[in-house]
Amino acid sequence: MKKSLITFLLTGLLATSINAAEKDHRSMLMKDMRTMLDSMEQIQRGGLYSSPDDMKAGIKKLQGTLTSLEGDDVKWILPKDQKYAYQFAQKTASMLRLYSNDMIASIDAGRMDDALEDYNQLLKQCTSCHIRIRNW
């Protein structure tokens, strides 16, 4: 009886901590997504107001959010029915890094057309992932 009670308590404790960890990861993702949205707006504003500094600051902010998507943590933060697709999310994150790095290089070289094309591609990656993961 005592054994069963301990097992029951331990199982409960484990389930609660897993649930809490999942919630932590979820809130981390939501925070990152809000930052991503802010950073995309900042890049766009920089482009429209001809401010390379604003654009670069937005890119840096965006890149700061990619770590959680690039690593294995992404398995925790995806919706349950989409967990299996974590490699797709990782691929999206790697493409966001590639285009954002290219965007910095384009801005530094004064190739604003290329920089804005990179911005289009960043936006496309965001929507592509949302179509898939959030079942648009």
Binding site: A85, Q87, F88, K91, M95, K124, S128, R132
Partner: protein, 242 residues
Amino acid sequence: MDRRNFLKVVAASATVMAVSPSLIRGNLYAADGTLYRAYEKTQLIGADGKAILASKLEKEVNYIFNYPYASTPCLLVNLPTPTQSDVELTSESGEKYIWKSGVGKDRTVVAYVAICTHQMTHPTPSDSFIMYVPEKTKTMAYDKSGIIVCSSHMSAFDVHAGAKVLGGAATQPLAAVVLEHAADDTLWAVGILGSDKFQDYFKSFKPELKQFYTGPAEAKKLVSISAKTVKLTEFSKELIQY
């Protein structure tokens, strides 16, 4: 040239082109069911430099070669059963065209441009989300396998019928590589049939092409003489299939 000689020249040219489509150059956007562009006739060869023979291709294995540009990947598959013939397909913009059939002794060898017509997912040296799924392997994209699946947004293409869309987000077939099967069993790519997305691909993946092909100019070079053909497992580090 008199009228009779002129007609002879026209008839001879038509015969030659009917026998060997690789002799046609340029776009053939016609209202008579063709959407075809010829490129340089290119032999498929293995990594060892030896000719790929249709009868020696392993069944249901994904092979990959770049054609007609140095960076545009194409899938080559030897199917377990013969393909359909004279399949009518429709491009996104409504143009109709005819995919003839697979090649080889039993019409089982097919090749398609491995750039998804939805959002241009394609195999890279790092990974591949698009591939042929063998008949005994399950996929979430469609209720049966033996098809090409793009696992990015779950588009499914009928590999036996010119890569017609079976399901998912794609709205037009994959472009097909027109193959010639020579009497000595060798395989040759001669053109692209269907609506390709090559220019969009070059524009959208410029940073990636810089990474893998040193630059856009290298990536846009037309393939000439031969195209190295390897298994997809040798081309991409990781294959992702849902």
